[in-house]
């Protein structure tokens, strides 16, 4: 990775630790409000495009071609899929007006132009044949976000559609059709503490045009976005190998993985669109921002064991803390390239 690319990653990185201790909470806040960090800012737009745009979309296209279970739109979610598509295109056009243009050309007709990708499309809202692969599959190749659509019925939310190629230790195909509460079954503490039922009640009451967001985090080995359960045999051994890594490669390989999740009540279907945008920053880069280095070390050091286990940091945590605490000067040796 070149120096300009790495500094753009730093500038837009949604550093998640606002406190010295991390605990699960219903940490939602209104979307669209920029957050200033020690290295830059993030959060001005619901849909975020950065220097990884082309690379990540190529990665998504490759995954979708290999594994069709990463995409699902059952019949009852077709309206929601179109609603999500139009909403995402509107967000892109509003946030990146120089490169993204959405023009209404008839009652149900639109023209889309994405100059960054060189894509032009004319489509009819509700007519699946007008966008190759169907609307949700198609729009997932315009945004870096993973997209999950939740249906609301019988007082609960249900994961009933989506395109998810960058899942962090879960499986979209496995979770499809489950309720919000079922999906969060494995997460420690959030049930007894009422966090998850409060979250569900909050989402059920979301109204259109008032999106919210939250962040979630974990650690990752390498710049690998697809750490889905489907690919577990590919990525799990990387974690074991970290034990043998020397300090230089430990800092280069270990990444803080942050998801910015947006919650949007769609204005036509009434479904909830859950967007997951994943950011990766190596510990080596993270340590160059002094407040981030100190804060991350503190948070990891004080993380309760059950949460550390769930987040997959339990085995790496002591070394990660020691590494961060030792990295209080800019890393010696050659600049990252």
């Amino acid at each position: 990775m070149s120096a300009p690319e790495s500094s753009s990653l730093l500038r837009g990185f949604p550093f998640p630790f606002t406190d010295e201790r991390f605990r699960y909470s219903t940490n939602v806040e209104p979307a669209g409000v920029p957050v200033h960090t020690a290295a830059g800012r993030w959060g001005a737009a619901v849909v975020d495009i950065d220097g990884e745009y082309h690379r990540e979309l190529q990665e998504r296209a490759r995954i979708l071609a290999q594994d069709p279970t990463r995409h699902a739109v059952p019949t009852h979610m077709r309206t929601a899929a179109w609603d999500a598509t139009l909403t995402l295109l509107r967000e892109l056009a509003a946030s990146y007006p120089a490169d993204m243009l959405l023009t209404r050309t008839g009652i149900n007709r639109w023209r889309w132009e994405n100059r960054r990708l060189g894509v032009e499309a004319d489509f009819v809202y509700g007519d699946d044949a007008t966008l190759p692969g169907g609307p949700l599959h198609w729009v997932a190749n315009q945004v870096q976000e993973d997209i999950v659509l939740l249906d609301a019925r019988a007082g609960q939310l249900w994961v009933d559609a989506g395109v998810v190629t960058f899942a962090s230790a879960w499986s979209f195909g496995f979770d499809l059709g489950m309720s919000f509460l079922e999906i969060h079954g494995p997460v420690p503490r959030i049930h007894s503490e009422g966090v998850i039922t409060r979250a569900q009640e909050f989402i059920r009451r979301l109204q259109p045009h008032q999106p919210y967001r939250r962040t979630n985090w974990g650690v990752n080995v390498g710049r690998r976005l697809d750490v889905s359960l489907e690919r577990y045999p590919d990525w799990a051994p990387d974690r074991a190998r970290m034990r043998r890594a020397d300090d230089g490669s430990f800092g280069r390989l270990l990444h803080l993985r942050v998801e910015v999740q947006h919650l949007v009540r769609l204005p036509d279907s009434g479904a909830v669109m859950f967007l997951i945008r994943t950011y990766l920053l190596s510990f080596e880069q993270l340590a160059t921002v002094e407040p981030w280095r100190r804060r991350t070390a503190d948070v990891l050091a004080h993380l309760p064991d059950d949460i550390a286990e769930y987040k997959g940091v339990a085995n790496l945590r002591d070394r990660a803390v020691a590494w961060l605490r030792a990295a209080d000067a800019p890393p010696a040796g050659p600049a990252p390239h």
């Binding site: 009852h76 209404r104 609301a152 019925r153 259109p208 009540r265």
Partner: protein, 315 residues
């Protein structure tokens, strides 16, 4: 009370399609597209200082206009009177973004819509969406002869298959038949006067309809009954308040100088929710879930009261 203003709208047209009902079309002052809304949504309008919620009857997909139809309520709080007597084309009106609280269920195999009187308004919105989406929909609509607001819309949007009634007994008989003869997976939506809604829901329940397939929308047509007087113990400030019949708990708290954030004051928006530490609330709002009601830990003081002698709140 404060109406957080999201939208400033201008009255594009005012019409009285049937006696006692005003249909208002609202647009953005510059004519731009308005925020879309889910079928069955309502709009909170500032009616000369009072905030009233009205169901949107227009199509919510990329709309240029919002339409509402307002029944004149002679003995109401004055919101409908203001719309009937004061509101004129080109007037500016403050509104909040449309809110969805009565949406069609995506997985329904069929949508059975039952409307009474001015309760037809959200049903019209459902019909528009059903037509656009190609959903299987049946509609029964009862009204007083000569007062059938949107009757022609209902007929047109259902391709003439709507069943219209001006005779109450014929309507009741037909509702019972219809409820007994729907495919599994049908969802029922009822909007009308409280007595009609209760009767239809009661019939459906007796016929074995699960609660999760019955949806009702009541506000806008019902003036809540004044309720009994009750006492409220204030644990933080100390003292006891008496809430007389006809006064809301919210108004009583405000009169006592307590600051409770509120918005719609109709049990819809959720803004004024307060915790309850003792006593059982008589829930009359449309905001709290069944689960939240059953815990008795919260109350919406704008409409709800005490079920029994009193409540204790940490205010």
């Amino acid at each position: 009370m404060s109406l957080g203003v999201d939208l400033e709208l201008v009255v594009a047209a005012v019409d009285e399609p049937v006696p006692g009902v005003r249909s208002i079309r609202l647009a953005a002052p510059d004519g731009r597209e308005l925020p879309g809304f889910v079928p069955g949504s309502h709009l909170l309008l500032d009616c000369g200082g009072r905030v009233n919620a009205y169901s949107l009857t227009s199509d919510g997909f990329c709309p240029r206009e919002y339409a509402v139809s307002v029944l004149l309520v002679e003995n109401g709080f004055g919101g409908s009177r203001w719309i009937h007597e004061r509101l004129a084309p080109d007037d500016r009106v403050a509104a909040r973004l449309p809110r969805s609280a009565f949406p069609p269920v995506a997985r329904a195999r069929r949508h059975l819509l039952v409307a009474g009187g001015i309760g037809v308004t959200p049903i019209v919105s459902h019909l528009r969406a059903a037509r656009r989406r190609g959903h299987d929909v049946r509609v029964l609509y009862t009204y007083r002869a000569g007062r059938g607001a949107h009757a022609d819309d209902v007929v047109e949007l259902s391709d003439g298959r709507a069943e219209l009634f001006t005779d109450r007994r014929a309507f009741s008989t037909r509702v019972e038949e219809a409820l007994a003869d729907q495919p599994l997976g049908t969802h029922l939506y009822v909007c009308g006067p409280a007595a009609l809604t209760e009767r239809v829901v009661g019939t459906a329940a007796a016929l074995g309809w699960p609660a999760s397939r019955i949806h009702t929308e009541r506000f806008g047509t019902v003036a809540l009954d004044p309720g009994d007087s009750f006492d409220v113990v204030l644990t933080r400030t100390g003292g006891t308040l008496t809430v007389p019949s006809g006064t809301s708990l919210l108004a009583a708290l405000e009169d006592a100088g307590l600051d409770v954030a509120s918005r719609c004051r109709q049990g819809v928006c959720g803004e004024c929710r307060i915790p309850v530490t003792a006593g059982r609330p008589l829930h009359r709002d449309l905001f709290l879930s069944e689960e939240e009601r059953s815990t008795g830990a919260w109350v919406m003081p704008c409409v709800s009261r005490a079920d029994g002698s009193g409540l204790e709140v940490p205010l």
